[in-house]
């Protein structure tokens, strides 16, 4: 239990506790507003749509908000000192070495993917995917008010990405990862000498196909096995298009470009939870091993 307090009260971890609290509060608050709007048949926002003078109405809110934030910030700064550790020493690596807290979700992804995916490709797709949202979400409803019913899918997918894959991986990386990036409960003392014997295998080996021969050369069968799985995963995109194109009004409205971008981004996002299950549940290291990269 002492360790839990040490972790939570670390000055740099306090923002994460705040973030977690605020995200839960806001999710609950905005969804209850959305459900209320859906249920009552008129919008709360519409009842407040009359025009009012910015001076003093908005200026007053901004002034009071500024006062409030500044009071909180000054108190926070009086009470808790920013950390300053030993001088930088390139020869002394701390264990665990953790990135700043807002990147811990990405660092946690390193458990499941090689650095080129976890550290470069997926972050790039996160940014590009966020930018693409207004252009791939063609649902015109729910513009400028809280609603769940009118755009339930987009809200569910965004909340899954933001809350489950971003915020909770940050919390996991901060509070559940100890020395050697091993899993520790937050209240568990960190044992720096812990060694966990893990037999990591590739997915093909799960089915009896060895990735490498005795002389460490790549087994072509394993290569093909992985290629079929990974390329097959993404070929679900054209397959679904061909099967549903004529029946689904949504696909027609989306059009081929929007559909492909949306489906690609969605499958790429879902590859993370899939790999997490494979890695944690079955000790699977790679799905596809090639001479140039591994997935």
């Amino acid at each position: 239990m002492r360790n839990l307090w040490v972790l939570i009260s670390k000055p740099d971890n306090i923002p994460i506790v705040g973030l977690l609290f605020l995200v839960i509060l806001y999710t609950w608050y905005s969804l209850s507003k959305a459900l209320k709007n859906d249920r009552q048949g008129f919008l709360d926002e519409s009842t407040l749509s009359e025009k009012i003078q910015v001076w003093p109405n908005l200026v007053r809110v901004e002034f009071l908000g500024t006062l409030f934030v500044m009071v909180v910030l000054v108190f926070w700064s009086f009470l808790i000192d920013a950390p300053l550790e030993e001088p930088a020493n390139p020869t002394l690596t701390p264990n665990p070495s953790k990135a700043p807290w807002y990147f811990l979700g990405l660092q946690e992804m390193l458990v499941y993917f090689d650095p080129w995916i976890a550290g470069v490709v997926l972050p790039t797709f996160i940014i590009l995917g966020l930018m693409a949202i207004p252009y791939i979400d063609i649902n015109e409803k729910g513009n400028g008010y809280y609603t769940f019913k009118e755009r339930s899918w987009s809200i569910l997918i965004f909340c899954f990405g933001f809350i489950v894959l971003w915020v909770s991986l940050i919390v996991l990386g901060t509070f559940w990862r100890g020395p050697g990036w091993y899993f520790f409960f937050p209240w568990e003392p960190w044992d720096t000498h812990r060694v966990v014997a893990l037999t990591n295998i590739d997915l093909s080996e799960f089915f009896g196909v060895h990735t490498r021969s005795a002389d460490y050369s790549l087994n072509p069968a394993a290569f093909i096995f992985g290629a079929v799985l990974v390329l097959g995963y993404y070929s679900l995109i054209p397959l679904y298009w061909i099967l549903k194109k004529d029946k689904s009004g949504l696909l027609k409205k989306l059009g081929p470009i929007r559909y492909n971008v949306t489906a690609f981004l969605f499958l790429t996002m879902m590859s993370l939870p899939i790999k997490m299950v494979l890695r944690i549940g079955f000790n699977i290291k790679y799905v596809w091993v090639t001479p140039w990269f591994n997935i």
Binding site: Q53, L84, P134
Partner: protein
């Protein structure tokens, strides 16, 4: 007391500075906004729901406030800090132990930075949940995503500057990813085939060396204090301008032009 104030308000100096008083007419209230360079960012009139904290959470405004706080405290910190490996940590110790209000200024800078990362995320969350990225505000959402990235980069570059163990190892972990960049990193897919080595790949450009060292400190310092704030300011100008041009804050009725 009131006499003095009245007298003061009649003087030429006062009248040259303050054009309007607190007269309670709509005309005067409108002039308060449009005649003030800071307030004229706002429209004169606004829907009531836009002033409702339950709708906006105030997160965009708080983010901007924190950016201003960070600029002011950051400039003060620059008076005491030299971005060279042999001085940086000593300057931090000096700041924390001997400078009057030094710890307060540094703490405010640090905590405002963390808070800003949180408020940016929550602002994005709110904008998503109210569907405010939809037409005609699509491009402003894109600008907002760029501002999110800039906020993270600002925070990350600032993380190195104390030049303590926490700083260099966090930045080492963060920048180690760059060595695995496809094509451009020496450990990334097809990097070696394209001639990437540890001393010429994208990570080398970021760090100014093969590991986090004195050149990295200078690079991150210049990026943190000059380059990134400048870029962020430009994008913020666009972001705020576009809010006005796209018809003000989003709302069920406010999707047309102002």
């Amino acid at each position: 007391m009131f006499k003095i104030r009245e007298k003061l308000q009649q003087t030429e100096v006062w009248k040259s500075i303050f054009r309007h008083n607190y007269q309670d007419t709509n005309r005067n209230r409108a002039l308060q906004i449009v005649d003030n360079v800071f307030l004229h960012l706002h429209p004169v009139r606004i829907s009531r729901h836009a002033t409702n904290l339950g709708f906006t959470w105030g997160m965009g405004g708080i983010t901007f406030l924190l950016f201003i706080v960070l600029t002011i405290t950051g400039v003060i910190l620059m008076f005491y800090y030299r971005p060279a490996a042999e001085y940086a940590y000593e300057d931090m110790k000096y700041l924390m132990n001997d400078v009057a209000f030094g710890p307060l200024i540094r703490n405010m800078h640090r905590w405002a930075a963390h808070a800003m990362v949180i408020t940016v995320m929550l602002h994005m969350f709110r904008v998503f949940l109210t569907g405010s990225y939809k037409a005609p505000r699509q491009f402003n959402w894109v600008v907002g995503v760029l501002l999110l990235v800039l906020t993270l980069l600002l925070s990350f570059t600032g993380y190195l500057l104390p030049w303590d163990q926490l700083a260099i190892w966090a930045v080492t972990v963060g920048t180690n990813m760059a060595r695995a960049t496809p094509l451009l990193g020496h450990e990334g897919p097809f990097g070696q085939q394209l001639g990437m080595r540890i001393d010429n790949d994208v990570r080398f450009v970021l760090l100014g060396g093969t590991q986090v060292g004195p050149p990295t400190l200078l690079r991150f310092y210049v990026g943190h204090c000059i380059f990134l704030p400048l870029i962020a300011t430009i994008f913020m100008v666009v972001h705020f301008w576009r809010i006005r041009k796209d018809g003000g804050i989003s709302g069920p009725a406010g999707n047309g032009k102002e």
